[in-house]
Amino acid sequence: MDCKPIKTPMATNGHLDLDEGGNPVDKTLYRSMIGSLLYLTASRPDILFSVCMCARYQAMPMESHLIAIKRILRYLKYTSFLGLWYPKGARFQLVGYSNSD
């Protein structure tokens, strides 16, 4: 993929909407992209929010939603070196963060 890399997975103003007047896209393709990205969230929690946002529209995906997914892919291209690492023998502590939306 020769896409232009980008530093965040989603635009800051970017709440998606139903976009009922938009161009419908292939549902199977859209859902399979969501499926792959959801699998990836296990090791990349930073894309969790943007993937879940896109997953809300899989009943009737439009072109604008597909563009949002492609932005996540561009972000992943830029940050393919990141990952979680659980070292052996590390001490850990439990801290909860709560927020509402």
Binding site: M53, L82, W85, G89, L94, V95, Y97, S98, D101
Partner: protein, 145 residues
Amino acid sequence: MKQNSVALSTVEVEYIAAGACCAQILYMKQTWLEYGVVVHKVPLLCDNESAVKLANNAVQHSHTKHIDIHHHFLMDYVAKGDISLESVGIENQLANIFTKPLDEARFCMLRNELNMLDLSNFTKKMKLCVVLVNRFCFAHHAYQK
């Protein structure tokens, strides 16, 4: 999570969200107990100070007296010392990365806080780094004792 009531204030919203988070922490505590890890006063950080005050101090107030009683189970666990509800500044609220789209600076900062590492040059340098971090944690732990 499905919303089943309309909240009247942000305090109520945050209070209910903290209650849901508390349930998750209790579950996690229980799981850890099976591995022999015992934790007390698990910090639960919430960015709404009024919600924190409400859980720590059970007073009746005209703005909060309508909150359904089952949301107040959080209060019991705070009183028992299983969890400790603390307030946190908005800039240190790690959960923000999961609830709203952020700009680049905040996003990268919170991503680092999630301990996401650069795994591309996974070399001796990295291992040394981990040894140092572990030592620091050990020293910290010893200090707390």
